[in-house]
């Protein structure tokens, strides 16, 4: 149990104890899971890095901090987090959206990034979930419950995140006209993107391993360096890895697309049709919302079940 920092207590005071309230981050995923109900008061989470401990591979940061600013700070020590960088997107926003970065093969999902969360509960009090260490199984896992919850269970003010060393060498390459399955042999692939024709790959790791994978790719076809990931179509679909790898055949109607191979995310031109959810899961979601936010004041109008 720690004394909470002033910025966090000020945030809790701003959230208060009643009335509908929503948190504004960078507004990059503002409509995810529904729009905030009309008349909902907007608040902002505090900003700033509290403590970066490179030797611990953790960083304590306030939720309103832009991910890009955080990563700039971490880069000085050759580290980063698994959170995706979107222009203006915040740490809290990335956690509450729960959407992984396109380098998920290398960095892992957002759900594994959060070690500790300090958040404002529906009754205005501050709760702490998780622990200040990289490993912990003390009690129920509220951290994972919070990731992807769109701020409907609690409003995150300060978090402890796991950091990773950035690969010694990082290269984006394009392999023209290849079956993305052929890239499986690359151990350093942190991202494999496929648009139905070409495969774009981010290789990340020790230079010697990246070079090895490059020669492996060169043997498969015409392999050339590119500056970075392609422009992604606007709609993010979530599916299984097998569905992503077969996306082309299954869904011509979605228009141009970029599939994240090995992950199960597809960036498409059309929105994803609603995914079927079993009634038991719907009921559990309802119960969680009811127990954690009895008055229904936290981000009303948003529902993680409606996320694509």
């Amino acid at each position: 149990m720690a004394d909470f920092d002033e910025a966090l207590t000020a945030f809790a005071a701003e959230v208060g104890t009643d009335g509908p309230v929503c948190v504004r981050g960078g507004r990059t995923r503002w409509s995810l899971g529904g729009e905030a109900s009309p008349g909902t008061r907007e608040v902002q989470a505090p900003e700033g890095i509290v403590a970066f401990e490179p030797a611990e591979m953790t960083v304590r940061v306030r939720a309103g901090t832009p991910v890009a600013a955080l990563h700039e700070e971490l880069a000085a020590d050759g580290q980063r987090t698994a959170l995706p960088e979107r222009a203006g997107g915040t740490v809290g926003g990335a956690l509450m959206a729960g959407e992984s970065s396109i380098a998920r093969l290398g960095l892992g999902p957002v759900r594994d990034a959060l070690l500790q969360a300090r958040y404002v509960c529906a009754d205005g009090r501050i709760a702490s979930a998780g622990a200040g260490t990289v490993k912990n199984v003390s009690g129920f896992d509220l951290c994972r419950l919070l990731v992807g919850s769109l701020g409907t269970l609690g409003l995150v003010g300060e978090v402890l995140l796991r950091t990773f060393p950035v690969g010694e060498a990082e290269r984006w390459v394009r392999l023209a006209g290849t079956d993305p399955g052929a890239v499986r042999s690359c151990y350093t692939a942190a991202s494999v993107l496929w648009d139905g024709t070409d495969v774009l790959i981010l290789l990340s790791g020790y230079a010697v391993d990246v070079d090895d994978d490059l020669s492996r790719l060169a043997a498969l076809g015409n392999c050339e360096d590119v500056d970075g990931p392609p422009e992604l179509p606007p709609h993010r679909w979530v599916c299984t890895p097998a569905e992503a790898a077969a996306f082309d055949a299954r869904n011509g109607a979605a228009g141009p697309f970029v599939a994240e191979i090995g992950v199960g995310v597809v960036h498409a031109s059309q929105p994803q049709p609603p995914r079927p959810v079993e009634p038991g899961v719907v009921e559990l979601n309802r119960r969680f919302k009811e127990r954690f936010d009895p008055p229904g004041r936290l981000n009303p109008g948003r529902d993680p079940l409606r996320k694509p």
Binding site: R111, K135, G154
Partner: protein, 508 residues
């Protein structure tokens, strides 16, 4: 309340030894006859036992907690059997406690209040290997090591590898969010479970999570993993398959001084190297292991580190060199690399047999499990030795140093009067010291009964209230494995689920 648990534990420490079967299980209540008849009708006579021997076995796990009290024991063979048992138990107003192999060290599988116990060990099949999605569906009773063996022909494995992996089950791993040496790089169980089919307390069957990148709604399988059987009963688990690394290098680093070994751990992480595993053993542990398993560890070293790096061959060679370099700069007296798979297996055998080896040192032991920031290992170890010396006890340290997960083993002889009290006192000091260093109560063994009353030392009343909301969202009537994890003040409804006689035994 903390005093009560301590008193209960003291009784155990003072009066019983491992393997002592003299403690009598109370005879099955007459009222259980109707319950047993209904269970037999529901799933068959060959799947229900209510005799004293079966109940005795189902009343314990591998912890020192010996106050568990099982009701009838069921051995379901299918999800439908589990549903039927939960229905019958509910009809009789009884709680349900699931158990796997009973290797848990925190009393999580010790049934409280004479619940219907579901032993999941007959549901032990590998249901499906789905390489396209990188998952396998397994039944909860499957043994961890059996799973990895079954996966081996496919070039993949299941990453979490607890020391008890030859006996512990996947269902138990899910309940405890189990770890293991290789969780340093790969993450604990929660990172490797994609979906769980669960029988809820109302006997409905729900699949939490799915095989997609981000299942819709709240991360319910995330909330379920590690819930110690209190949120429902897992009947099928989709586990992530991890590709076998192309190259592995296992190194044994020896040191004259424990502090040098601890400093090496911190320096490896600080250098941006994430080995697959960094395990540490101090001299007393090394000696015990050598006597027991002849793993080839140097007996004269004050401490050894077992470091494994894996990945593509080039990077493994570089990381291996860097690790050896860091060790030498921290006064390592030797750095040996396993020459082949045999030597590698022998080095790991030593580590994994450490707990068994303690039996040669003292007849009893208490294994602790706390976490500290990995940058503070040097001072933490000094504190542990100081605490143990002061209580005139023997400690063997063997632990997952890379993520700061301590496992001090207090070895003792319970026949010596007063020893139990000293073990208890030293254990409490180690736990409190770990928390004061910014650590956590448990890294992989769970809270169970053992650390229930320490929870409010780590969490505020608000925090615990939030945790109890998570549990109640799954199980509003607190019928699943009641009485665990949350301290009594935060689990009032659990007491209601327990029978009055046992509630007195646990909390009285």
């Amino acid at each position: 309340m903390a005093r009560t648990l301590a008193a209960a534990t003291r009784r155990v420490l003072g009066s019983r030894r491992r393997g002592d079967r003299s403690a009598a299980v109370p005879a099955t209540d007459d009222t259980d006859a109707a319950l047993v008849a209904d269970l037999v009708e529901a799933i068959g006579a060959d799947r229900v036992r209510a005799d004293a021997a079966a109940r005795y076995l189902a009343s314990r796990d591998a912890s020192i907690y010996k106050e568990g009290n099982a009701g009838p024991v069921c051995y379901p063979g299918s999800t439908a059997d589990v549903v039927a048992c939960v229905e019958v138990a509910a009809r009789h107003g009884r709680a349900v406690s699931p158990r796997g192999a009973g290797t848990g060290l925190a009393g999580g599988a010790a049934p409280l209040g004479q619940p219907v116990v579901l032993s999941m060990t007959r549901m032990d099949r590998l249901l499906e290997i789905d390489l396209d999605n990188g998952v396998a569906w397994v039944q909860p009773g499957m043994v961890n090591l059996d799973l990895s063996r079954a996966l081996a022909p496919h070039g993949v494995h299941y990453a979490p590898d607890p020391s008890s992996q030859a006996a512990c089950t996947i269902g138990g791993n899910v309940a405890n969010n189990s770890g293991g040496p290789h969780c340093l790089a790969y993450g604990v169980t929660s990172a490797h479970v994609l979906a769980v089919e669960v029988v809820m307390s109302d006997a409905s069957v729900v699949t939490l999570g799915d095989l997609t990148a981000e299942p819709p709604g709240y991360d319910l399988r995330g909330a379920f993993v590690g819930s110690e059987g209190m949120c429902g009963i897992a009947t099928a688990v989709a586990v992530r398959l991890t590709r076998n690394p192309p190259a592995v290098r296992t190194m044994l680093l020896s040191f004259d001084d424990v502090s040098d070994a601890a400093a090496t751990v911190s320096a490896i992480i600080a250098a941006g190297i994430v080995p697959a595993a960094i395990e540490m053993m101090d001299q007393r542990c090394v000696t015990a292991v050598e006597d027991f398993a002849q793993a080839g560890y140097p007996r004269d070293a004050a401490a050894v580190l077992l470091v494994e790096v894996d990945g593509p061959a080039g990077g493994v060679a570089i990381a291996g060199e860097r690790v050896a370099d860091i060790a030498r700069r921290n006064q390592a007296i030797s750095a040996r690399t396993a020459a082949d798979d045999d030597e590698r297996a022998r080095l790991w055998k030593g580590r994994k047999s450490a707990f068994g080896a303690v039996a040669n040192v003292m007849p009893d032991y208490y294994l602790h499990d706390t976490v500290v920031p990995r940058t503070r290992l040097v001072e933490v170890l000094e504190r542990i030795y100081e605490i143990v010396d002061r209580h005139d006890l023997i400690v063997l340290n063997v632990f997952h140093a890379g993520d700061g997960n301590l496992h001090p083993i207090l070895a003792y002889d319970s026949r010596v009067p007063g020893t139990g009290e000293r073990v208890q006192a030293a254990g409490r000091e180690i736990i409190e010291m770990s928390l004061d260093m910014g650590g956590a109560l448990t890294g992989e063994h769970g809270i169970g009964v053992e650390k229930r009353e320490y929870m409010d030392r780590m969490f505020s009343a608000v925090d615990l209230d939030q945790q109890s909301r998570l549990r109640a969202s799954f199980d509003p009537h607190c019928r699943m494995n009641p009485g665990k994890v949350l301290p009594s003040a935060h689990s009032c409804s659990d007491i209601g689920a327990l029978r009055a006689s046992d509630a007195a035994g646990v909390w009285g």
